[in-house]
Each structure stands twice: as C-alpha cells, then as structure tokens.
C-alpha cells in the first residue's frame, strides 16, 4: 500500500513535470494573463444603501434597486448583499402601481420584483447601523443576513445614494454621516483586514466631498458630482408623478447592462460613463489609494462574483472494506422500517386549560368617575373666579 502511494506520487510528479515542460513556452504569456486576472479576491460583497425616505425620493430607491438587480444578475448572491432601503415606495399610498418600483419611464422595468431581499428597512437605516455593518461591531444576536461577513480576500462594492452636501450625507431626513466618519470606518475595516479591495460609488449632490477624506489603502471611489455641483435626476414619469432615477446611476446602469460575468471591461470605461453633456454634473473618481492600475481592474471584480477555482489533481487512496459498507447499508434499511411514526410531544396541559377557574378581573373605578372629577374641577374653577367666565365656554 505504501508502494502504491509512492508510485502514484511519482506518477503525478511525472505528469506535472510533463505538463510544465509543455507549458514552459507559453508560460510567459500565461503569467501575464494570470497577473492580469489576479486581483487576489475570493469572494464579493455588496453594501447598497439608500439614505432617503418619503415619496418624492422615489428615485433614490429606484437607483439602489437597479444597482441591486445588476449586481445580482452578475452573480453576487443575496447572502452577500446587504441592502438598506427605506422601502416605503412599493406599498406607498401614493403609488399608482402598487408593489412596483420602476426605474425607467413607460414602466419598462420593475426593479422591485418578487425576490428583493431588503436587509435593513425603514427606520433601521441609520448612520449607526450602517457604520456597525461596515466595522462589524454588531450585537451578537444580529441575524446573519444583516451582517457583512467579509474577510481579507473580499472585494466589497459600496453604493450610496440620497441627498448630500459638502462633506456629509443625509440619512432619512434626521441624521447625517460625515466624510470623516466614513473614512474612519473604512480605516477600521482596513485595520482588521475586512476587505481586499473596496469600490465606493456615491450618487448625491456634491458627492466628491464624501471621498475626499479617505486614507486607507485599496479604495477606489466614484462620485456623480464634484463639490459645489448638484446631481440631477433623469426624467419624471407623468403617470407616477415623480422622477424615476438619477442621471448618473441611469447611465451607469446602461453601461452595466452590457456587462456579463465573462466581460473583460475595465474600470477606465466606468470612469467615462456619463460625461458632463449627459449628466450636467461632472462625475469624479479617486484612484490614488488603489494599488492596481484601473485599466487592469475588471468591472466584474466588484460587480460580479467570479470565483477562482483549481483543478484537483490528487486523490487519497482508500481501502475498500466492502463487508463493512454492505452491512451498514443493510442496517440503515432495517432501521428505517422499524422506526415508530412521529407524533407531537405533549406540550399543552389541555386538562388544565379546560378546567380553568375564571380569572379575577382587575378592578377599574366606575366609568363616571372621570366625568365627575372634571365636573368638580370646573366647579371649583368657577367658584373661585365667578360665574361670568362661563360665557367663554358656552
């Protein structure tokens, strides 16, 4: 048996040597190709945040849901997407088409659909929850779908949209997150190696101010407008009555529609999306913290979930002990026949419930008591100040 193992080892080393020798000529090209592909990540995550609520901010929800659809289409599963939405559009009383959120006029595409999984909805979308998700400092009882379980080989896409200003982003009309806090949160993520590379996209007014303060490595940022500029919305829909999408995200989505999981499109193309003629604002980007050249970064590195695999070339030789396997199989079969039918355990003490004594009701003062009290108060009032004040009441 030891000899067999030794032989198989030598055979595999011989095979490997042959493969290597065949591949040595093409190895240079392959090395280059490998380097081109090598982003070092083994899994993808996405954190999509819509920071607005209320009906007139329909477009922000449509933005986020459209990005959610694209990211799902390109392969990132729901378990790896943290979606934070106010989620008050689809079932809003003002929605003429309930249970839908459209991203394009003429109601072409319903981005709400049947299978949207919102992780943080309504009032759970707060600055605190967002920062807790990013830094991982969540209470231990948080369900798994609400956590960002990334590791040092995760590429994370963070998309934020809403109303913003110079250096801050408004959350649900009641709080703000500043660019310093965001930068600190990313630094905390970096210190704990919670990401391999991070792509930050923001579609708000003065969006570029949010990525000004980043100082952690491996972050690439895109924004829809520069400081001092407003990001504009795309088109209103007369049937629904609100603007359906923002310009920048609209054109980013048009761009993403052409990407499939095998595309080789790189980030430089994404930077060209939505020039000033179409967007009216000037989109910006920041790549100085990113180690790789953007032209070597594939779109699918962040928007898709391309997994690295390796071919298994080895096996472990097992001794087949047929007697044991056959007898255990027979045992399983016999056990199945002998099992009793299952039934519910005795949980409810039915006997006790049937013969219950009537419950003693709590004592309430008689109903007219409150009325009487008020009458007393009014009487005392008018005794003190005189009856003439009654005219103000009657």
């Amino acid at each position: 048996m030891a000899a067999a193992y030794f032989l198989s080892r030598s055979a595999s080393t011989l095979a490997a040597f042959l493969l290597l020798s065949f591949g040595s000529v093409a190895s240079q090209v392959e090395d280059q190709a490998e380097q081109f592909f090598r982003s070092g990540h083994t899994n993808n995550w996405a954190v999509l945040v819509c920071t607005s609520r209320f009906w007139f901010n329909y477009r922000h929800v449509a933005n986020t849901l459209s990005v959610y659809r694209s990211v799902k289409r390109l392969g990132i599963p729901d378990s790896h997407i943290v979606l934070m939405l106010a989620d008050d559009m689809a079932c809003n009383a003002r929605n003429p088409k309930p249970a839908t959120v459209f991203s394009h006029k003429n109601m072409e595409l319903n981005v709400y659909g049947d299978d949207v999984e919102v992780d943080y909805r309504s009032y759970e979308v707060t600055v605190e929850n967002f920062l807790r998700v990013l830094t991982g400092r969540i209470p231990p009882s948080t369900p798994r779908s609400k956590c960002l379980l990334s590791d040092d080989r995760s590429n994370i896409l963070i998309y934020m949209t809403g109303h913003g200003g110079n250096g801050f982003l408004k959350f649900q009309d009641s709080e703000e997150i500043t660019n310093i806090e965001l930068a600190d949160a990313f630094e905390q993520m970096w210190q704990k190696r919670r990401y391999n590379e991070l792509l930050f996209i923001i579609d708000t007014c003065q969006g570029a101010s949010m990525y000004e303060r980043f100082y952690s490595p491996n972050i690439m940022a895109l924004a829809s407008s520069q400081v001092g500029e407003d990001s504009l919305s795309h088109q209103p829909d007369p049937a629904i009555g609100v603007h359906l999408m923002d310009r920048y995200t609209f054109y980013v989505l048009e761009f993403l529609e052409e990407i499939n999981p095998a595309s080789q499109t790189n980030m430089n193309d994404l930077f060209q999306v939505c020039p000033k003629s179409l967007c009216v604002s000037t989109p910006g980007h920041r790549t100085d913290l990113f180690q790789r050249d953007p032209k070597n970064v594939l779109i699918t590195d962040f928007f898709g979930s391309v997994r690295k695999v390796e071919i298994t070339t080895e096996t472990v030789s097992l001794q087949q002990d047929s007697e044991i396997t056959e007898s255990s199989y027979k045992e399983d079969q016999m056990e199945e026949e002998l099992m009793e039918p299952l039934k519910y355990a005795e949980q409810l003490p039915v006997a006790q419930i049937i013969h219950q004594k009537p419950k003693l009701k709590d004592w309430h003062p008689p109903g007219g008591f409150i009325l009487g009290l008020w009458a007393l108060i009014i009487m005392v009032f008018f005794k003190t100040y005189g009856i003439k004040h009654m005219k103000f009441i009657f």
């Binding site: 030891a2 379980l149 298994t312 030789s317």
Partner: protein, 472 residues
C-alpha cells in the same frame, strides 16, 4: 480712574480694587478649576490598556520546540557510541521569514537505548508489523516524535531506503557504523523530523496573509489557504462538497485542464468554498428497459477525491520527503497524525500572528480616531488576550503543542471580541468639528467678559507701572 483725593473717590477706588480682585478670582476659578473639570468630564472613556505590552508582542521571539525521542537498537551505532547513551542534543535554527515575529525552530533530541520489547518489534519482518507492535499513539503528546534507529543492514526497510515515516508520530532511520555515527544519524533524524513537523513552507503558508506581497515569487505556486478557523467574522463557516451527475444529454462530461486533456479526478475546488466533482454514469446503465434507472454511485471513488479536496482546503500540502525515504500510506481517516500536528503548529503560529495584529490595530486605531470608547469589559479582554499570547509563546517554547494551541485560540477569541465589541462605537456621530458647535454657545458668554476684564486689568496695571516712572 485716577483718584482725586475725595472720600467718594476713595470709596470707588476700593470698589474698583475689589472689582479687579473679583474679576481675577473669576478668571482663576474658570481656568484652574473649570477648564480641567470640563476636559476631564468630556473626554471619551478609555479604560487603561497595556500599550507597552502590545507593542512588545510585535517583537515577540517565537521558539517552537519539537521534542524528539531517538531510540537506538543494539547494532545501529558503534559500541563506544552506544556507551555514551543516554543524552540530549539540541538543534536550533532560525526560520527566515520577512515578518516582525521571528521564529526559531528547536529540535530537542533525547537519545536513549531501546528497551527489550522495542528490540523485538524492530527485528520483525517488515515495518508495518513493527509499527503495529510499537503502536502507542495515545501516550505521545501532540507535537512530539519518536525515531527508531535500526542497524545499517536491517531488513526492516527495503534495502535502498534510508528512512521511513509512519502514519503515527513515529519514524525509522537507518543507523551507520562510522566514527561520526551520531552526527550523520543526527542529520538524517533532523531531515525526517522536519518533514513530520516544521518546515519553512508550513510556517510561510500559515503566515501568508501577514507577509508583505513581495515575498511571493511568481513561480512558486501559492498554497491554497483556506484559513477556515481564522476568519472570526463569518458565523459557522461551511465547506460545500458537490457531486454533480450530469443528465444523459450532457454525459459524459469531462473537465479539461489547460492543455485539453481530461482531468483524472474530474473535479475542481475553490478556496474557502469547497469542491465539485462531476460523476459520469456508466453509459451501459442507461440501456436498461425499465425506467427509472437505478444507478449506484461508486462512493469510494468519490470520497477519495473529496478527501483529497478536504485536505487541500485545510491547507495540508504534500510534505517534501527527504531522499530515499519511504512514506507510509494514509490511514483510513485520510490524515496522518503528524500532519495534524503540522496543522496545529501552523494554526498556533497563525493565531498568534492574528491576535498580535488585531491588538496592534486596536492600539493604532485608538491613536488615530479620538472618539472610540474603551469600556472596562473590553480592556479586560485585551489583557486576557495579551496574557494568552504570552502563555502560548511559553508553551510553544517548552514543546507542549496542545496547550499552546488552546492558548493561541483563546488569544484570538479574546482579541477579536475586544476589537469587535459593539460598545466601541458608543460615541458615534460626535465629530470634533461638531463639538465646537456644542460648546461655543455655552462658554462664549462666560469667557468673553472674563477675558475682556483681564485685558483691562492688565492694561491698567501696565499704565500704573509706567506712570510713576514718568513722574520720576
């Protein structure tokens, strides 16, 4: 202000002086008492942390000790050498790694003579029988090894083999009748012991995520690091093994490698996820007339592949055996006991590296970001983590692998718990520039009169000092 010598003026003088004193007293109380009180009550609560110990962890010198018991049979070494037994030899070398943590590997070889039952066992026909007799796996603690030295011409091993590595923590090495017997045998023992315990690649793979990028060369194949245990972030990490039986229309389905040849195992795996194997059903089985066709999957073949993938996903690579060394076949569990030891060594070192990095990151973050709160519970976790790292290092140096591993696990758990405690974000949303906006309306109405009166007093006193000079 200049008194004209009337009683009214003298009275106002007194008042003015009193006024000045009062203003000075106000200012004194505000600055001496008020300012420090405000500072103390508004600083973020930070329980004291052992910063110096944490920075000391970075320069930790790890010494990994492998206790090796070397048993000499009667004819293995010359007689006069045999007379020197028993004694202990220590072989220590530093593992070159570009990492702050320096690692020294120490093999402590205890030489002794063979006992009678060992002599009997080692004179049996082949090495498997000998092992079966000598087998005492439970008595040997993790991390330790036993090497038996047999005579040069013994028939226990095949003639051309110089050493043998068994599935448990035992090995057999041929002795030599030579003047420098101990040195030569010692080198052979070290080679075998290194294969079974610690080599540079084991530690390099363990610390792969902590080493800087340029350490890797493009031709050395990067070992598949799954590090299932080290990602504290994921709850209950799962490994998936998928057996795919393609439907008749797609059978047989082969996986080809980059040269187009079908892969023997027909399987591939993905780091940190699991493995997938494609099982092609024998086409003759489809000729049966009755439907549905019952197909028996050859589970042994499938499990061979899955076990190999499991080993790769755990990071158990094939060891580099020394030349002329016979490696025993795998046990039925699919794992040799010393491979488990290698995993334990790697994990202990990795856990210590992770814990040190986490603690250092926490200390750095506290320096950079001023509104992180450290409560007492978090501080005690940090102290516990530091103590556990130091204990693990001690246990590794004394060769107790299992207690070192437990201590390293505790270090990692405590440090992660401290870093990811939700209370650290207690003072969220209180950036420094907004503190300004909070305190200015409180302090400005108070400080402006004080400052102005101080300025006034100062100018007056200066004038009064100058005035006598002028007169004189």
């Amino acid at each position: 202000m200049a008194a004209a010598g009337s009683p009214g003026a003298a009275a106002t003088d007194l008042e003015v002086v009193r006024g000045k004193r009062a203003a000075l007293f106000f200012a004194a109380v505000a600055i001496v008492l008020g300012l420090p009180l405000w500072w103390k009550t508004t600083e973020t609560y930070r329980a004291p942390l052992p910063y110096s110990q944490i920075s000391g962890l970075n320069a930790l010198q790890l010494r990994l000790m492998v206790p090796v018991t070397v048993v000499f049979t009667r004819d293995s070494v010359p007689l006069d050498d045999q007379g020197k037994l028993p004694f202990t030899v220590v072989h220590e070398r530093e593992i070159p790694l570009k990492y702050k943590m320096k690692i020294k590997c120490r093999f402590q070889k205890t030489y002794r003579r063979a006992l009678d039952h060992e002599e009997e066992a080692l004179s049996l026909g082949n090495v498997q029988e000998a092992e079966a007799v000598l087998a005492q796996p439970k008595e040997q603690p993790e991390g330790s090894l036993t090497v038996y030295v047999i005579s040069e011409h013994s028939s226990l091993l095949p003639q051309d083999m110089m050493s043998y590595i068994g599935p448990e923590r035992t090995a057999v090495v041929r002795g030599i009748m030579h003047r420098e017997a101990f040195n030569i045998i010692g080198r052979r023992i070290i080679q075998v012991a290194q294969t079974m315990s610690l080599t540079e690649d084991v530690l390099a793979a363990a610390l792969a995520d902590h080493l800087p990028e340029d350490k890797w060369s493009s031709d050395k194949r990067r070992p598949l690091k799954s590090s299932l245990g080290s990602s504290a972030a994921s709850l209950y990490p799962v490994l998936n093994f998928l057996l795919y039986v393609p439907e008749l229309a797609h059978s047989p389905l082969y996986i080809q490698d980059k040269d187009g040849a079908p892969v023997a195992t027909n399987a591939f795996h993905s780091p940190r996820w699991g493995g997938i194997m494609v099982y092609n059903v024998d086409p003759k089985a489809y000729n049966a007339s009755e439907r549905p066709v019952r197909v028996e999957v050859d589970v042994v073949k499938v499990m061979e592949v899955f076990l190999a993938q499991l080993r790769l996903l755990f990071g158990i690579a094939h060891p580099q055996v020394p030349p002329k060394c016979l490696l025993s076949g795998l046990k039925s569990e699919g794992l040799m006991t010393w491979e488990l030891d290698r995993l334990l060594w790697a994990r202990s070192v990795e856990n210590l590296a992770t814990a040190t990095t986490t603690l250092t990151s926490l200390a750095q973050l506290l320096g950079k970001i001023s509104n992180i709160v450290i409560k007492d519970g978090v501080a005690s976790e940090v102290y516990r983590a530091v103590a556990a790292v130091q204990k693990a290092a001690e246990e590794l140096a004394s060769g107790h692998l299992s207690s070192a591993f437990t201590a390293s696990q505790e270090a990692v758990t405590s440090s992660e718990r401290a870093f990811f405690d939700p209370s650290l974000l207690h003072l969220l949303y209180f950036p420094d520039d907004q503190k300004f906006a909070v305190y200015i309306p409180l302090f400005l109405p108070m400080t402006v009169p004080i400052l102005l009166s101080l300025v006034k007093i100062f100018l007056e006193t200066r004038k009064s000092w100058k005035k006598p000079e002028k007169i004189d």
